[in-house]
Amino acid sequence: MRQRTWSVAHLPMIRPMGIASLIFLYLPLLTVLIFSFNKSEDATVWSGFSTRWYSTILDNTDLIRSAKVSLSIAIPCAIIAALIATGLAIGIGKATGKLQNILRALVNAPLVLPEIVTSVGTLALFSLVGIPLHYSSLLFAHVVMCVPFAFLPIRSRLRDFDQNIFEAARDLGASSVRVMTKISVPLLIPALLSSGLLSFIISMDDFLTSLFVSGPETTTLPIYIFGLLKLGATPEVNVIAALLLIIPTLGLLVGIRWTTTRRRSNEARNK
């Protein structure tokens, strides 16, 4: 018999700090959520429950227009980034050549570089080459930013699989193109969805790159909202912020649910 049963509580500070940081993370979000249902004209003083500000949002044409711009960039961006990242993951395989490492580091650089550096760099490049700041320039600036993120789920999915499958196919004489179309790509379909979703959210959320690389006709949702926020708190912004909170969270929860039920059914099947 052991004298002391061990638990996390024996480590100092661990539990209170953990709980405190969850409160710290959620207090502001809950505040926004609650105040978006505030009746008052005053954004920060509670005077009663109402959904009136939610209905004013639909009349805001600038907001709707900028949301459309954001969607028209985020959707193609998600598709292109997921495809390019798939190509990168398949083509690079397990290669560790010097040139490949350098190229991979370049592609992944947006993950670690401060966004302000890459965005002013892109602006400087576009102005040097004479590329107008328009829809397609913004789209490609977003794709560059999303590819390293889109790469992560795809690479881990490829690595998680039994590597013998690929080698067996090669040994039995399948060409590399055939290995890709018959094995790699079908296996990657779920990962493609998550990397597309990841890219979509990153593109929708991006502010800094869009600020530098967008022209007058490509005011994205974050740029429009930033302009509003500079003016301070209003009931309308409460609602916009609450929607920015609710929509991705619901999307994420649905995504998590979907993957866990899939995993469970896969596990059940394997048994």
Partner: protein
Amino acid sequence: MRRQSEPGIYGPRSVSIPAYVLGIFLVGCPLIVITVFSFLQRGDFGSGVIYQFTLDAYRTVFFETNLMGVKSFNFTYLTIIFRSVLLAFTVTLICLIVGIPTAIWIALQKKSTQRILIALVTIPFWVNVLARTYAWMLLLAEDGLFNQLGAPVLLYTSWATFIGLTYAFLPFMVLPIYASAEKLDRSILEAAFDLGASGWRVLLRIVIPMIKFGIFAGVAIVFIPALGAYVQPALLGGNKTMLIGSLINDQFGESRNWPVGSALAVLLLAMTGIILLSTRKRKLELAS
């Protein structure tokens, strides 16, 4: 033998080419262009550059020349850079102090609880940074929730910037530390307790050394974006105290001095490189 592995095991090598092209032209080239721009002269009409080599941009950042033609250090830019480094350092430190225990706490829960807690830490990360920043505007404003409870108004001060940055980057710190804390062997901790080690001793001598990798990764991915942050200083700090991010933005925008903006971006890039190299070197040392 080597020939055989040439085509790549998952498919033809050539399908990587689009990614490489993107990397070379839209990541590599921009970095080269701003480096080149930082050594050029300012454009006549305030926009762009003139293709004439000069060190003026760097001279402007570091020195000033008075009416008598005497050169001295220019402390305005240096102060801004120093302030940004200090702020990023403090944010990283607080994220460490809060993030390490949080990550360990999560890693020592049951597997199912772990999954829920990690989802809870990740969700704020998926909420638009503007919405998250706005949440703090609501809390810290005059007549905001904290003010109504009797706290002083912190909005449009450096304190607000500091809180907003810590808030934004805490998940960045927790996630990599959790990834290495998850592999902690509980039996080692139990053994240490059974042999009479105190809680602090187990934490400092066993747990922390075992999650070193995660801590280094967390430091790098918090410090770097905190150093170049733009949104939080602009909205929460009210752009009252200049930071390097807002300074670069200003040089490419209102001030229209692209060479100085580029020079500052190059300096930021250099600092990023130093941080990445120093955290990576530590990793190599540990690995060997």
